[in-house]
């Protein structure tokens, strides 16, 4: 990193990743609802149709199961499709294609057919979209062997992870975030290749009293919480998982061995959520390092209400993380 770093939005970073990989490999194409002529429902694919043409930037009808499957079929014969879900809430309509076809194919075929496909789009609650449009799907998909899952929280991670996902020879879910599309961050110059490996967490802030494990939308919340805690002389370390699968257990254990106290801030729901698995792994590997029970901050266990005040009550927040940290530090 150098003085040449520049500031871009999360949306621009994704757009750069798409354009660079489309440029680099003629087998890469983008398909989804409104990705071409409309330039993307969230403008992530802005300008790509003009640059790469209609054979590589393909508008689909509203048929998530159909076009997800079409992507898998194209991947069977060696193309590298990027399938955009307008939101991962709609990927539930395509669940069968993602799970049964993309994910099982390599095993079912005895190793003959790998599926190099990227499924990407916003995931997790946005703002008052109600129960059907607010799903955080990472915990659902994490249960399936054969899938890789990443959850970029910054523009730099968004670009680096998406590029790596496109080059991966397996189905990869890039779970973006509507709430983060306009967020800004520093990133390498455009002419510098930026690839971030899947399965590598990153310390977004160092600290010594407690580890806040987070990903995607909970990263900015955890950073805000850490800042607030500093005023109360609690030094919080913020570990951004960046990938849900593979999970960077090594980074988790290192941080916990240093701070001995843990809060998991996740954007999904508590029951069988990502935090459940992390808590299990920590106690299994380094139980003796823990000075307090692990706390979790997640959504409340209810379908998402539309009402703004209730939605806020359901979602994780910096305040909830601060409260959880204080609890584990007092224990």
């Amino acid at each position: 990193m150098s003085g040449d770093m520049r500031e871009v939005t999360y949306r621009q970073a994704l757009n750069e990743a798409l354009a660079e990989e489309l440029e680099r490999d003629a087998n890469v194409f983008l398909m989804g609802e409104e990705v071409a002529q409309y330039n993307g429902a969230y403008k992530v694919s802005q300008g790509l149709l003009d640059r790469f043409g209609p054979m590589r930037i393909i508008d689909t009808p509203i048929s998530e199961n159909g076009f997800a499957g079409m992507g898998v079929g194209a991947a069977m014969v060696g193309l590298r499709p990027i399938v955009e879900f307008m939101t991962f809430s709609f990927s539930l309509v395509a669940f069968d294609q993602v799970v049964n076809n993309a994910t099982n194919m390599l095993t079912m075929s005895g190793g003959q057919f790998n599926i190099p496909i990227t499924f990407r789009g916003p995931n997790g609650p946005a703002h008052q979209l109600g129960a059907t449009h607010s799903h955080a799907t990472e915990c659902l998909y994490a249960n399936f062997p054969g899938l890789k899952i990443c959850t970029p929280a910054t523009p730099r991670d968004a670009k680096g992870l998406l590029k790596t996902a496109i080059r991966d020879n397996n189905p990869v879910l890039v779970l973006e975030s509507e709430l983060l599309y306009s967020s800004k961050g520093m990133i390498e110059p455009a002419d510098q290749e930026l690839l971030i490996p899947l399965g590598e967490a990153e310390l977004k802030r160092e600290g010594s009293d407690v580890t806040i494990i987070c990903y995607a939308q909970t990263v900015p919340l955890a950073l805000a919480a850490a800042e607030a805690l500093e005023e109360e002389e609690i030094s919080a370390e913020v570990l951004d998982l960046r990938s849900i699968k593979p999970l960077d257990l090594h980074a988790i254990l290192n941080s916990v061995a240093k701070t001995h106290r843990v809060v998991v801030a996740e954007q999904d729901r508590p029951y069988c959520g990502i935090g459940s698995e992390i808590c299990y792994r920590i106690q299994k590997e380094i139980f003796d390092e823990l000075d307090a029970p692990i706390a979790r901050v997640s959504q409340e266990d209810v379908p998402m209400p539309y009402n703004e005040r209730l939605e806020k009550a359901v979602l994780p927040s910096a305040e909830k993380i601060v409260a959880a940290v204080k609890k584990v530090c007092d224990a």
Binding site: M70, V72, V77, P81, M105, T107, F113, N114
Partner: protein, 321 residues
């Protein structure tokens, strides 16, 4: 690359016999509990896939549902590899990891073996999209049963194939029953081919008990697609002599119906046609049939003697390198 006109009818008859004898042997081995899981037999429908093979090139893509043994055999996957897959052996066409419903043979462009009804129809559209993307004249043959036409994935795929003018033939093997439910009870249409009209896709009907009719109809369709990329739909009317799967006694249909189709057997018919035309003697037929039976029997020995997939390889195929 073999062109369709080079496919010899006697050879095609031999292929139908191999499929028939293989399936009979599989049925016997299933009853002897050598084969696990589900096992769906194709007996009676042989002229459909063999007719399609006769109409296409070796490099055309083929994908089908779970009644898939015949489709692999027709593509040239060995009886040994097919039987070994049923036995769950590492020498199977999917290394014993797929089973009866998940046969794959990438080298022969056999793209599975798919067991969620209708879910492979979008895959076929994607394979055809790749042909168009690469500007190849390869056609995708997508086989499915009459049960698949009521799944959402089927409709979504047909619509997109229509919009994108993809070079794919949707081949409905209408054997009159989706599991135990007859077409009249499951489908709000007078005839299945009318599904195609809803997507502005040309639709055709062929008699699936008649090899020549299937071949000739598909030859016509394939040539039109090679000239000018577009999807087509062919309803091929056929019949399975056995139940939906090995565990189904098929009590939902009459003996008379079964007998009617047995009398119209596709193998008997092609044999009679060839014999009448002086292209096949009874002796030749007997030699072919014996060869098919011997091949099927030998595949059982091969499968029995083959190794199981090693436990140490359990994690080898979850992710590609």
């Amino acid at each position: 690359m073999s062109a369709p006109e080079q496919r010899d009818e006697v050879e095609m008859l031999a292929l139908m016999l191999l499929i028939r004898r293989f399936e009979e042997r599989a049925s016997q081995q299933y009853q002897a509990q050598k084969i696990g899981g589900f096992c769906h037999l194709y007996i009676g429908q042989e002229a459909v896939v063999v007719g399609a093979i006769a109409a296409t090139r070796d490099d055309d893509y083929l994908i089908t549902a779970y009644r898939d043994h015949a489709h692999a055999l027709a593509r040239g996957t060995s009886a040994n590899a097919c039987m070994a897959e049923l036995f769950g052996k590492v020498t199977g066409c999917s290394r014993g990891l797929g089973g009866s419903m998940h046969y794959f043979d990438k080298a022969r462009h056999m793209y599975g073996g798919h067991a969620i009804v209708g879910a492979h129809v979008p895959l076929a559209a994607g394979i055809a999209l790749a042909s168009k993307y690469r500007n190849e004249d390869r056609v995708t043959l997508c086989f499915f049963g009459d049960g698949a036409i009521n799944q959402g994935a089927f409709h979504e795929a047909l619509n997109m194939a229509g919009v994108l003018k993809l070079p794919v033939i949707f081949i409905c093997e209408n054997n009159l029953f989706a599991m135990g439910t007859s077409v009249e009870r499951s489908t709000s249409l007078k005839q299945i081919v009318d599904r195609a009209e809803g997507y502005d896709i040309p639709g055709f009907i062929a008699d699936g008990m008649n090899f020549r009719e299937v071949r000739d109809k598909l030859t016509e369709v394939v040539e039109a697609i090679r000239q000018n990329s577009h999807p087509a739909f062919v309803e091929i009317r056929t019949y399975r002599y056995r139940g939906h799967s090995m565990s189904d006694p098929a009590s939902y249909r009459t003996k008379d119906q079964l007998e009617k189709y047995r009398l119209d057997d596709p193998i008997t018919r092609l044999r009679a046609q060839l014999t009448r035309e002086g292209k096949l003697s009874n002796e030749q037929f007997d030699v072919m049939d014996k060869h098919a039976k011997d091949t099927a029997l030998a595949s059982v020995t091969f499968a029995e003697k083959s190794e199981e997939p090693p436990i140490e390889e359990l994690y080898n195929y979850t992710y590609a390198p």
